[in-house]
Symmetry: C2
Subunit: 229 residues, 2 copies
């Protein structure tokens, strides 16, 4: 979602190709030529250059296409390095925690037919709960609306906000318990959403459809999501 | 180690400050002003600019200091994006696997006095065992000596080789069992070592001293390292 938003926000022409994990399209030989790691997102430029890993894609798009505003990934090396620092920190912290919790507690068991992995979900929840205070008190320091106290969003805001948005698919009580203590994070999500409309809502529509589907699934059976501590 | 090697290889003047984890120096208020995440490495430039996360540091050093050869982090945006892709992939794969296995099976219980976490070590081992074939067959594709089939090393070679070198502290039988199937990886480690001497051996001396210490510790007691499957 962060990649699509970035492309639209900056007027970069592209053709969107949806990869359906439920139909295992990510495992197809055709897609593996683009990303042998079998994950999304990935891009193909001019039918030749292939690139995967969302951070690498956003860095590349910001630098390779004329007209992308400087605030997304500044040319100033000191500012750029700080944005890289957020992005690199994100992998083993906020990303590991969010993805691990969402997949092992919810998406795996309720949408993909996998057995719940409560131990992995609990470990990921710990990482997430240790990461959120660092976002709230360190990365959102200062009076700016965005990460690093900046007045305009960078690719790091797109990446980290889209990550936290994944928590929407959790049981609502669990999600509120996790996120409610963090007022600055709540405001920052709103600020990033406002700065990237209408694309933010457009790309998160998929997520909210999954959320609705999960509410129905939960209403007809039991789920282990609230047991994870 | 990758950061120090890069600084020395490229003639960038610096003062090295060792942070002793056994003495909990990483938790000191003074160090937290440089890296609030309490981890190494971190740099301070001209007493003002502070930066942490090894990938972000190496990108910054390659761009900010004159005289760093282009092959370390090429100015060409397509080449640079591919190096970024390796680095971003590394976080949740090779790095997660190596660090998790080494810490939970060996460094934690045998050096830091923590209880072994065999479940976390086993999960990390799985990630490592899934990552190594991707390095061998995908990232080391082609005839070049280095990642992405390149003829000269990049910052990604420094980072990934230094990561794999951490496996030296494992029980030797376990280490050989993990690494021996990967002949291209073995040659690539040698090539990277040769391309970065004498700094490679100089900075890994600390690791080999830890390895010797662990051999003595294992000879006087039991260890759970070989139980992790």
């Amino acid at each position: 979602m962060s990649c699509n938003s970035h492309l639209l926000l900056n007027g970069i022409e592209f053709e969107e190709v949806t990869i359906d994990f439920c139909k295992r399209e990510n495992l197809s030989p055709e897609y593996q030529k683009i990303n042998p790691m079998q994950l999304v997102p990935a891009i193909e430029v001019d039918g030749e250059f292939k690139l995967f890993e969302s951070h690498a894609i956003l860095r590349f798009l910001a630098c390779a296409f004329p007209g992308v505003a400087d605030h997304w990934y500044p040319a100033d090396l000191f500012e750029r390095a700080q944005i890289d620092s957020v992005l690199d920190w994100h992998h083993s912290n906020l990303r590991h925690g969010t993805t691990g919790l969402v997949f092992n507690s919810t998406v795996g068991p309720l949408l993909a037919g996998l057995p719940p992995n409560l131990e992995a979900a609990a470990e990921a929840r710990k990482v997430l709960l240790a990461s959120l205070p660092m976002v709230e008190s360190f990365w959102l320091k200062g009076d700016g609306h965005f990460l690093l106290g900046r007045s305009q969003p960078s690719i790091a805001d797109l990446i980290l906000v889209c990550e936290i948005m994944q928590l929407e698919v959790l049981d609502e009580k669990v999600r509120k318990q996790i996120l409610d203590p963090y007022k600055k994070i709540g405001k920052w999500i709103d600020d990033t959403r406002n700065a990237t409309q209408p694309y933010f809502d457009e790309f998160h529509a998929v997520l909210f459809r999954a959320k609705e589907k999960l509410i129905k699934i939960r209403s007809t059976g039991s789920s282990d999501e609230t047991k994870i501590k």
